[in-house]
């Protein structure tokens, strides 16, 4: 039965004639090739390490592996990707068997850690300082450590899945998790917490009784002071605790009614806040006529209610600041370069690129099969694309205004002139990106699940294309900045921007017509791609 489930899952993941399959294979080969290299490095390092190094550093390495193992399923859960075992509740399969399937499939999400652990274990076996072949405990320690990580990851993920299913909690928790993920990086980059962070991790790794320190003591009996059996017992205890945690969380997940948790609360009557929102949604009708106004209005409503979009929007003005601030502030100097002229522009362009993934690069993505409405309605597709572009631009400028307000409050921007420059630059870059986005939306459409914070999986070709197109789209504006730097003249800069704007407008017009024409010709493929279904287990 388990074999049948795993086979169905593998069949659903088969590549077939799917577009981008070759790039997926290449990406996979490259990714696991890199980790195979890391495994070889771990083997060499473990082979050459002396006893004192192993004693002090091995627990830290195993803590790192444990952390990686947990963070991947945690991130995937927060982004909404993964497996839905509830689909199998229909069949007469015992829950413990489903749990085994879950754990086995979970192994695939951190196979790179198995590679590294295997490499390190081989190195330790041949290292006389570690005990060499006499260290038979190693054969038991590593599988138990792997099991501990798998079970813990499964439990944590199940717990998070339930939490994330609740309305609004998803965005907050994802934001919190990503903040935890980014915090060490920011601390190290800014140089303020490097020592504290390193010291804290070392202390955590050395604390007796933790699974990573127990595993290290079992793996290197020479450094355990004769307590390797006690360490093995401790590790076994941790694995059993993880089994209990993983299974109980899995059971609760199977019984959990996610639909009920996500249901829209219906307060009686219409609140003042709802009235205000309604008035805001009606604003496009003041500037445009139908169908353009109707499309913009629909986009504003839909996007504002989409958890994934909201998450990216929040990330745009938070992570943009968090990621770029330390870099522009002189990395480890700890000095804040206040008033940096380019800070606001850089952060806003970063936000523009982030928003692109959920708006202009794939503008039919959230509509999925409902995008057929645009093909059935008696309106030219050009208007649909233009309406979606205007809605994207609205959110881009809203993001810019939020960022301008934050940087002004923190005294990070260079005043009104910088804000105006940013608005102009973002507008010009948007022309190029929207032009390219319309073409990519028509040629590389893919269905996006609104409740997910990230898609994951089959987007490698699309992502690869974006990486190629971003520099291209930003080149005209970069040339204008280069001209200002070279000639030291604001007039030259303004002329450069004006040229970039004219060129962008022409390119946008041409791309819009081309994309609309192509959409009409490719409507069958577009709708087929947007209606793509799910596998028996994977919701991906």
């Amino acid at each position: 039965m388990i074999a049948a489930i795993l086979r169905a899952q593998l069949l659903s993941m088969r590549l077939g004639a799917r577009r981008g399959a070759l790039l997926d294979i290449l990406t996979g080969v490259l990714w696991y090739g890199l980790w195979t290299g890391a495994a070889v490095a771990a083997c060499v390092l473990a082979l050459q390490a002396d006893l004192s190094w192993l004693h002090s550093h091995l627990p830290l390495v195993l803590l790192g592996i444990c952390g990686y193992w947990q963070i991947i399923p945690v991130l995937s859960a927060s982004m909404g990707t993964g497996l839905d075992m509830r689909k199998l509740l229909l069949y007469p399969v015992a829950h413990r068997k489903l749990f085994l399937v879950e754990v086995l499939l979970r192994l695939t999400t951190a196979a790179e850690m198995v590679l590294v652990l295997t490499g390190g274990s081989i190195g330790l076996l041949f290292n006389p300082a570690a005990g060499g072949w006499r260290a038979a405990h190693l054969a038991a320690a590593m599988p138990i450590f792997v099991c501990f990580n798998l079970l813990l990851a499964s439990g944590v993920r199940s717990l998070l899945e339930r939490l994330l299913a609740r309305r609004r909690v998803r965005e907050l928790l994802t934001f919190f998790l990503l903040a935890i993920y980014l915090a060490p990086r920011v601390l190290v980059q800014s140089g303020t917490g490097r020592h504290t962070l390193g010291g804290g991790l070392s202390a955590l790794a050395r604390v007796l009784g933790f699974p990573w320190s127990a595993a290290a003591r079992v793996a290197v009996p020479a450094a355990s002071g004769g307590f390797e059996w006690l360490a093995l017992l401790s590790l076994g205890g941790w694995a059993l605790a993880a089994l209990w945690f993983g299974f109980t969380q899995f059971e609760r997940n199977l019984r959990y009614d996610a639909l009920a948790a996500q249901a829209t609360p219906l307060p009686p009557g219409v609140s003042r806040w709802q009235e205000r929102k309604e008035r805001l949604y009606r604003v496009p009708s003041l500037f445009w006529r139908d169908p353009l106004a109707a499309i913009i209005e629909k986009e504003l409503r839909s996007l504002a209610r989409t958890p994934r979009f909201r998450m990216i929007f929040i990330m745009g003005f938070t992570f943009g600041l968090v990621v770029w601030f330390p870099m522009l502030a002189g990395r480890r100097s700890g000095q804040v370069a206040t008033g940096s002229h380019y800070f606001l522009v850089v952060v806003c362009l970063y936000a523009l690129t982030l928003l692109g993934q959920v708006t202009y690069w794939n503008c039919f993505g959230f509509d999925r099969s409902a995008a057929a409405v645009y093909f059935v309605a008696p309106q030219p597709l050009r208007k649909t694309l233009a309406g979606k572009n205007i809605a994207s631009l609205f959110f881009v400028y809203l993001e810019v205004l939020v960022l301008a307000a934050i940087t002004a409050a923190l005294q990070l921007s260079g005043g009104l002139r910088t804000v105006i420059e940013t608005l102009v630059v973002v507008g010009i870059c948007s022309l190029y990106l929207l032009a390219l986005g319309n073409l990519s939306s028509v040629h590389y459409p893919r269905a996006l699940r609104p409740e997910r914070v990230s898609q994951g999986g089959r987007s490698s070709r699309f992502q690869g294309l974006i990486f190629l197109l971003y520099p291209l789209a930003l080149t005209p504006v970069l040339l204008a900045y280069l001209a200002r730097y070279a000639f030291g003249s604001e007039a030259v800069f303004a002329a450069g921007l004006a040229m970039a704007a004219v060129l962008g407008a022409v390119l946008y017009g041409m791309a819009l017509e081309s994309a609309a024409g192509d959409a009409d010709l490719r409507r069958e493929q577009i709708l087929q791609e947007l209606s793509r279904g799910e596998g028996p287990l994977a919701s991906e």
Partner: protein, 249 residues
């Protein structure tokens, strides 16, 4: 003499080497309630999708309400209402917002679209539901799709399994509305697996099998010797039972 509501000649559509629709000819007079029947995978949905312009035909001609597809597709789209098999609804809008959006896409003024959306929601008993469409049940989604197909008062309805997943009350309401529309001169092109529904509602029927029309005409013409529509359907489609082979069942 007025042009037929639908006039299709030698329509073909293939996927790879498989012909989903293989030389279909149809002539449906205006004001008729037309049932398009066939087993699963016979080519019903593909035909409807070609009639709405969602997918292009490989060859053949389509003329709807006197306009040629795809040359005059905008004129055609203005005059047809579609209820697809998979409801084409935006999950992040409420029923009222979606109906208003569809009305405006079909050229109605905003206030008219809002007014009609309200009327339709009331008619389909969806007014109290301010939930997102994504939270609707299948039957409710069908009701919204049906309401959306009515909002611009089309001359021709193309409906792919419109009663699937709809409860008895909803189905009755939808049937009454459709019958009323036909009385007012609209044409209905409907596919359904429920032969009793087709038998009760439709005045003309065509049966498609393996992408070809195997028979068409009035109900009386199809049913020979007092047989039911189901008997005629099984006779024409040629489904032979081989249950005796399943001796373990």
């Amino acid at each position: 003499m007025s042009t037929p509501a639908i006039l299709v000649r030698a329509l073909r559509k293939s996927y790879g080497s498989k012909a989903a629709v293989d030389g279909v000819d149809l002539e449906i007079p205006r004001g008729s309630f037309f049932g398009f029947l066939g087993p699963n995978g016979a080519g019903k949905s593909t035909t409807i999708r070609m009639l709405t312009g969602l997918i292009p035909a490989d060859s053949g001609s389509i003329e709807i309400l006197g306009y040629r597809m795809p040359e005059q597709s905008l004129e055609i789209k203005r005059r047809i209402g579609l209820v697809p098999d998979e409801s084409l609804l935006f999950d992040r809008l409420t029923g009222a917002e979606f109906l208003e959006f569809v009305g405006r896409m079909y050229g109605l003024g905003r206030s008219t679209a809002i007014e009609r959306a309200g009327d339709l929601l009331e008619l389909f008993e969806l007014q109290a539901d301010r939930k997102m469409i994504g939270e609707y049940s299948k039957g409710m989604r069908k009701r919204v799709a049906m309401a959306a197909s009515l909002i611009h008062h089309p001359e021709l309805f193309l409906m792919d399994e419109p009663f699937e997943g709809v409860d008895a009350m909803g189905a009755r309401l939808m049937k009454d509305i459709l019958i009323d529309q036909v009385k007012r001169g609209a044409t209905i092109f409907l596919t359904s697996h429920v032969l009793e529904v087709v038998e009760r509602l439709c005045d003309r029927v065509a049966i498609i099998h393996h992408g070809r029309i195997v028979d068409s005409g009035t109900l009386e013409e199809l049913r020979s010797g007092g047989e039911s529509l189901e008997d005629a359907f099984v006779r024409l489609v040629g489904a032979g039972h081989q249950m005796e082979r399943l001796d373990w069942l």
